[in-house]
Symmetry: C2
Subunit: 688 residues, 2 copies
Amino acid sequence: MTSQPSEGRNRVVIESITPSVDAGRYPAKRTAGDLVRVEADIFTDGHDSIAAAVLVRREGPDDVSAHWTEIPMAPLVNDRWTATFRVAEIGRYAFKVQGWVDHFETWRLALLKRIKAESDTLVDYLIGAELIEQAAARATGADSSWLLDRATHLRAGKESGSPRTGPGSRVGEPKNLRTHATDPMLNEIVRRYPDKRYATASDREYSLVVDPVRARFSAWYEMFPRSTAAEPGRHGTFADCEARLPYIAELGFNVVYLPPIHPIGRTFRKGPNNNPDSQPGDEGSPWAIGSAEGGHKSIHPALGTLAEFRSFVAKAKDLDLSVALDIAFQAAPDHPYVAEHSTWFKQRPDGTIQYAENPPKKYQDIYPFDFESEDWAAMWEELKSVFLYWIAQGVTIFRVDNPHTKAFPFWEWVIAEIKRDHPHVLFLAEAFTRPKVMYRLAKLGFSQSYTYFPWRNAKWELTQYLTELTQPPVREFFRANQWPNTPDILTEFLQIGGREVFSIRLLLAATLGANYGIYGPAFELMEHTPVRRGSEEYLDSEKYQIRNWDLARPDSDRTGSLGPLIARVNGIRAEHPALQNDTSLRFHSIDNDQLIAYTKESDDRSSLILAVVNLDPHHTQAGMVTLPLDELEIPADRGFEAEDLLTGARYLWHGPRNYIELNPAKQAGHILKLHRRLKIETDFEYFL
Amino acid sequence: MTSQPSEGRNRVVIESITPSVDAGRYPAKRTAGDLVRVEADIFTDGHDSIAAAVLVRREGPDDVSAHWTEIPMAPLVNDRWTATFRVAEIGRYAFKVQGWVDHFETWRLALLKRIKAESDTLVDYLIGAELIEQAAARATGADSSWLLDRATHLRAGKESGSPRTGPGSRVGEPKNLRTHATDPMLNEIVRRYPDKRYATASDREYSLVVDPVRARFSAWYEMFPRSTAAEPGRHGTFADCEARLPYIAELGFNVVYLPPIHPIGRTFRKGPNNNPDSQPGDEGSPWAIGSAEGGHKSIHPALGTLAEFRSFVAKAKDLDLSVALDIAFQAAPDHPYVAEHSTWFKQRPDGTIQYAENPPKKYQDIYPFDFESEDWAAMWEELKSVFLYWIAQGVTIFRVDNPHTKAFPFWEWVIAEIKRDHPHVLFLAEAFTRPKVMYRLAKLGFSQSYTYFPWRNAKWELTQYLTELTQPPVREFFRANQWPNTPDILTEFLQIGGREVFSIRLLLAATLGANYGIYGPAFELMEHTPVRRGSEEYLDSEKYQIRNWDLARPDSDRTGSLGPLIARVNGIRAEHPALQNDTSLRFHSIDNDQLIAYTKESDDRSSLILAVVNLDPHHTQAGMVTLPLDELEIPADRGFEAEDLLTGARYLWHGPRNYIELNPAKQAGHILKLHRRLKIETDFEYFL
């Protein structure tokens, strides 16, 4: 148990490596092109110098993954070291950290001190010669002979005569020896051949999953395909969806998300407003998946054919819109799986199949899969094949319905399986559940996650929650996707209704979240009537019936579509890299609880946005916002411009405290581009 | 890589287990008799009930360690679970966590809801019967047949007739079935036989090192044996040390710590005040270990014989004093190791041995061991044997000198080796170095550690530092030992001199630190003159010469020994369990930056102490201290007594805010026992 280690001379310690998730058990998430900053506590006993490096490689086929790239680390403060590298490619990377005692550097620094104190002796140079000879033995080619030559010079002092040979004697030819020993070229060449005999390696390799940029920066538009017909009463088709795409693209979205497109079960079908007694002609819920017409790999006949779906996907791609499909792993009683794979569902002693329930509520139209099935392995494979089927049709994003009601080991496996061959595919977890469960799903591989944002309205709770999401450790594995509404979530705040309310939630979602989404026409048309008081369900919800939306309602009217504001906000997001990440989010003090203020910046700090939102839809609110000018690198000794990207207004601000006033009837918030230097518009532009 | 796991049905997740150090890489520390509270995040997918347990065993010989004790965990909030157990024995323990889906409990809770809603059906009872039969198959003896009988009852509903057999039909004999199904005895017996087929185990076992109580609660007294002679000028002996022991015991200390007692090197011996040119008759530094008379296993001849040392240890034990020996792994040039094991030291190209240095400073009287020696394995064994030698002489505590200048892997190995056979032995790390290095040494096994306490004087820095030390994660592995002075550390604050200054530092050390120590006579006699301005070294330091101390200086005089105050403080520590731990430390608001206030409590909350110290040695300071009465379980609606254990004064306090005034010339601080209920002294005592 405590027998000696095989090598006891690994003197360097490596601890607290970041980024890491659960001590390296799960990969950290990044997107293509990101700079990855690795840090670790690295130190050794005593006073010797150390050196350290990050070794990084892509994971993948052997020929790719065998090659480790070594990046030297540099010390920060307090024994913390760092190195930075860029992950250019989508896929998985692995990195590890190495540290070792650097005897040459120890010698070099001590010698410099001794030279300064005029206390260098011959033996100091002999020690250096030994270290250089050792480096020469590790070196190759010209470097090796150059080093041997240099060592010979350092030994020459000893060989050339008596008065300089005593151990404490002063150096005979100090200038020459000192020049040779402190030559920067010597240092540079020795450093190429570090002595790693007793190097310490980090306890394990750490993984990174590098996703497409859209994992970090996306704007989602959810719409029900069956509600896309131009004329009321008709069942929408993929052709109608295709016709709707330019509208969505003009609003500035880059993901179009469709609820399930499969045949809908007939047994226990629900009527409008979730009525358990449906009538013939009722369309049912798209989440009651499967009928005699097919299951998870089939298309609802009324929507069209597979070819039409592919055409829709292709058209979307032309408009730079990704198509996200809803994956809901559950079956209507008439889903083909139920007959073909009855063991995938829980059998009851009376021979019936266990339907979903939350006692005493019963959902007889839904059979959950039984992840304790004896046949789980085959079931996993089949469920995986559902993803692969739709990937083959051009789908690149999956919005997974209630992943928290399926076994966790399944998700870790299936997402890794799919991303191994299709690393560009993204998964959004729709798990509105307890925080640790949501975080676990993200660790297991979900690329993005819904959040509690819909219910966070007050400044303190937005600040606290968004800070948690955007700081380590959470941000290393959990990517928030902020939705003000969904077909299941018409919040109490939205039920107030009106442009002010929807504008506030839009501005918050789109600027707090580099990833955000809206449940389409219901949002821009500011639908806000619940099915009943106290419910978050929409009245006449599209979940149970076809709706027809008047998207052309004019903006001039106070009840007109919010489309133009949405388009402007999305345009600002696309133009300003500051809004394309969440990790730079910082909240700032503003002396009014109804006003919230925060900045975001681009990685290179060239883009800096200050958002200020009036959380009160009813009254004008004003206050002084205080900015940490130092941190933001805004000079304190001159004015700077805050340019409102929503209105074009320009404010000349001075110092850290500046005045904000927002009348929600006119403008729910500012999205201010902060110009770090005063920009004066004259015939020509110049910067002071 | 992503092939299916062999078992995919382990649906329960176990995360974030505490106590743990670096995700379980190192043991957490406890002392004998402690309650250990294990916590973990435990949850599963969906809505099924789960159960969890901590399994704990002693590490040791196979027959002991094979037996795991299972302790059921209970849920707290937010998916956090806990279980508590007591570690009675000194040694190592291991624990792990198990969690599993509890189908019986899921069924039982759903049935209770259905019964309440009058919606229970026959099939619900049949499902229960199946689960009970499965439990019966896992059960033994009477339990098994009892369960089968109960299952038969639940099945009876189906067998007894037609109207109750349909899947949705209502229960025919509801009362009888309901009574059987919800019988608490049924629940209790099924729970004895949990279905752990798909149980999840924590990723690893977690270790605990259980030390003697003295690791958590100790008062150290350091003294130089050679300075213990009664008459000036004579070299002290172990007999003199033995004669000093009753004095130390009366002061209330329980550890007596001796600087090295070995022969002192003669080569490059240092004279008084670290003079490099020593004179014949100079005694030298005890840390320059080894001469022709022997090394680390020998005794300085002037101190006496091994038998006399053993007598000293025995006498100490009689007084309940542990003897702590200084272990300084370094050699004087004339240490026998240098000749016998020259490869354990770094050879220089000129044939000399590398002495210690911190360029341009040189310490020619000290040779460090070379932990990169080719012969490191034999050197490790020899160094280990030094500990074993002194353990054989009755030493139970080692104060290790500069452990941070020896290789980390050595410490992990040697401490584990020694504690395997001698688990009662303690190690104090004397590493006044960077924080991460100090923490690493503690993780590797040191039982206690010196701290930055000597240099923490202001309220904010004491609060910040002590909070860091006494909260997780640090407190799980690092046990502070707070010293106001050491032979190397006469702080700037102490150099002010006077009773006030020494009293302040004594009160802080002894009440902030359940472990604390003083460098003996120099402290109680308030020695405060540095060797020169700007130095933390004592003038005429005992490190380089023999001193003679007048311990009997009367307390009545302002320059008299601080002994009586020390004895009183140590007596209070011994009497009041609140002061015997650090984990309960909480700082409280007091509206004066020169006053610091904090409480400590015993585990069972029966002992509650509030300490308030005036950090200003010059002026009377006053302020209002605010106590969180709720947290402290002090009723807000009546008065409570604060009894000053130093003076016997009693204060009747009301509410959270109470007045404090401290004149340092009279009293540097209060040590107040808070009586949670008002104690009224009359002819008899009673509690309101």
